[in-house]
């Protein structure tokens, strides 16, 4: 975050009117759902049976359910591959993009397109390209490829499509971050004899650390929470190979109607996600300690 300017314009203004709509909105979107989630996670209820509270063993049951634990694993693997690919490619492309001319701006806008496009439409496009029968790739090669229907390759395909959609966004953030480094800082280092690689490791990367951390967190969150891409592309298949946690949780709630179990899964998934972010934060602190 930029440095806070502490001069406050309105010391005695009443904030309530300004805040009330957003606070009401936050209450509806997050407050009420979170408050209802915990009691909901202890119910034994299939939408028809009478509501029966207090089943804390839902959590143990869910953690002993391989379908759920497998889907947590699948989520972590897919999200890790997708984020790593997206951050790496985005970093390289952003680095090259950071010295642009006017025409490069049009290019940059084009790179944002897949990020703004509806994930459902993107998934439809890639499904058509990769479908084993009638798909563009199979038809043009003249034999049936099974990238989407092979349990070994399907998770990688999903990760690649997620990364495809987000790389341009990452690249633009990296480029804008690199461009915000003051010229004279770079010039001074050059005069002191720093080559491109020292410039990168000792000046550009440290100056970029906040943006890098912001990107790592937002990209991880987005990848962990992917739903629509998977829903259209593979439907969680083949045989559960791409069933991400979002998929398993909604299915448990609304297809097999195990409401309590699905709420318990949602709580566990939230804890896992927060733990991932916490680990990233620890790494960030560890790596940047010498600059602060």
């Amino acid at each position: 975050m930029n440095q806070r300017n502490d001069s406050v314009v309105f010391m005695r203004a009443k904030p309530l009117l300004f805040l009330a709509p957003a606070l009401l909105g936050a209450l509806l979107a997050v407050g009420i759902p979170l408050v209802t989630l915990l009691p909901l996670s202890t119910v034994e209820w299939n939408l028809i049976s009478p509501l029966d509270w207090g089943h804390w063993d839902n959590f143990a049951r869910v953690l002993g359910n391989p379908q759920f634990t497998d889907s947590l694993g699948t989520t972590l693997v897919i999200a890790f591959c997708a984020s790593a690919l997206q951050l790496l490619l985005g970093g390289v492309i952003g680095y090259y993009l950071s010295v642009w001319t006017r025409s490069m701006k049009v290019l940059a806008a084009l790179f944002l397109l897949p990020w703004m496009a509806a994930p459902v439409a993107i998934a439809v496009a890639w499904k058509w390209i990769l479908a084993p029968t009638g798909g563009l790739l199979s038809e043009s090669m003249g034999f049936r490829q099974d990238l989407l229907t092979n349990p070994a390759t399907a998770p990688l395909v999903v990760a690649c499509v997620i990364a495809w959609a987000g790389t341009g966004y990452t690249a633009l953030f990296v480029a804008s971050g690199l461009r915000s480094i003051p010229r004279h800082t770079l010039d001074a280092a050059r005069i002191d004899g720093a080559g491109p690689s020292r410039l990168f490791w000792n000046i550009q990367l440290p100056q970029m650390r906040r943006i890098a951390f912001f990107l790592v967190v937002t990209v991880t969150l987005a990848s962990l929470n992917v739903y629509d891409l998977v829903y259209v592309l593979t439907g969680g298949g083949p045989s559960g190979a791409t069933a991400m946690a979002t998929f398993t949780i909604t299915q448990t709630a609304l297809t097999t109607f195990q409401v309590g179990e699905s709420a318990a899964m949602a709580i566990i998934f939230t804890v896992v996600e927060l733990a991932v972010i916490a680990v990233e934060y620890l790494f960030y602190r560890l790596l940047t300690r010498r600059f602060d």
């Binding site: 975050m1 930029n2 001069s7 406050v8 314009v9 203004a13 904030p15 300004f18 805040l19 709509p21 957003a22 606070l23 909105g25 936050a26 509806l28 979107a29 997050v30 009420i32 759902p33 979170l34 209802t36 909901l40 490619l89 090259y96 010295v99 701006k105 806008a109 084009l110 944002l112 397109l113 703004m116 509806a118 994930p119 459902v120 439409a121 439809v124 496009a125 499904k127 058509w128 390209i129 495809w164 690249a171 633009l172 480029a175 915000s180 906040r210 739903y227 629509d228 979002t246 909604t250 709630a253 609304l254 409401v259 699905s262 709420a263 949602a266 709580i267 998934f269 939230t270 996600e273």
Partner: protein, 270 residues
């Protein structure tokens, strides 16, 4: 700036990888069923495009109604969520009140909660309120607040010249007056950008609209996913629907090409 070989190579490769699927969708939307199954893109024509699009829109899939639904949702979302978050960010940037920091951190932390976690209880709350299958069910939980917009608006407020705002206050403007006559005009392009992002986010939404409204009041994304499920082999229609769903992103790209990038890159500071 001189153009180096690796730079050209990386950027043009990425350009190809980005553009090719989008071009293929467009070509697919311009092809007949027979031509598409032969992958004969030479047959693609604007006339076929018009016939495909009208079959998708007014044929059995009724995609036109779904598109209308989505446009309605997007307009309401932009009209309510953007101003509501904007004035809250203003209060967080310029007011002092007890508990401000804690409240702000709590609101921003909402961003860390997975959507699927809130969506499960929300589904039962909204169903109990009788809003299942209605546009109100889709809108109500999200129409007044976005943690994403709150952070970006506040960061932007912090970069405004405070002397200017202080001067306006000394000249007798109240908090609303300063917001309306000084702050908002200075942030016009940034507000447009957030409105655009809000519009596109609602347009692209799938998980919540599918759960709470589903086929009873389908949005474009929901209609497209069921279209794809029905006509697995009728790819020319599915791709035409995908093309229609890409329109806001593409028009955003065309309309604000330079502007968008300048705003995105030079006005957003993290």
């Amino acid at each position: 700036m001189k153009i180096s070989l690796p730079r050209m190579l990386v950027l043009s490769l990425f350009l190809l990888v980005t553009a090719i699927p989008l071009v293929l969708v467009t070509l697919g939307a311009m092809s007949s069923d027979a031509a598409l199954s032969r992958l004969d893109f030479g047959q693609a024509s604007p006339a076929q495009f018009v016939s495909n699009i009208s079959e998708v829109l007014w044929g059995p899939s009724q995609f036109a109604a779904a598109l209308g639904n989505t446009v309605l949702l997007c307009v309401v979302m932009v009209a309510l969520q953007v101003p509501s978050t904007f004035i809250a960010a203003y209060a967080f940037a310029f007011f002092t009140f007890p508990g401000k920091r804690g409240l702000y951190v709590t609101l921003v932390a909402a961003y860390l909660i997975p959507a699927v976690t809130t969506v499960i209880p929300l589904f039962f709350v909204m169903t109990a309120l009788g809003m299942k299958g209605t546009p109100l069910g889709i809108l109500l939980p999200y129409v007044l607040f976005s943690p994403y917009a709150l952070v970006l608006f506040r960061e932007r407020f912090e970069t405004l010249p405070h002397e200017l705002l202080d001067q306006a206050r000394v000249d007798g403007l109240g908090p609303w007056g300063v917001l309306w006559h000084v702050a908002a005009p200075l942030m016009k392009s940034f507000i447009t950008l957030i409105a655009l992002v809000t519009f596109v986010t609602m347009w692209n939404a799938f998980l919540w609209p599918r759960l709470i409204a589903g086929a009873a009041w389908p949005t474009a994304t929901v209609a497209m996913s069921s279209l794809q499920g029905q006509y697995d082999s009728n790819w020319h229609l599915v791709l035409s629907a995908a093309f229609l769903a890409l329109i806001p992103a593409i028009s955003a790209f065309v309309i604000v090409r330079n502007n968008l990038v300048t705003t995105f890159v030079e006005e957003t500071e993290i």
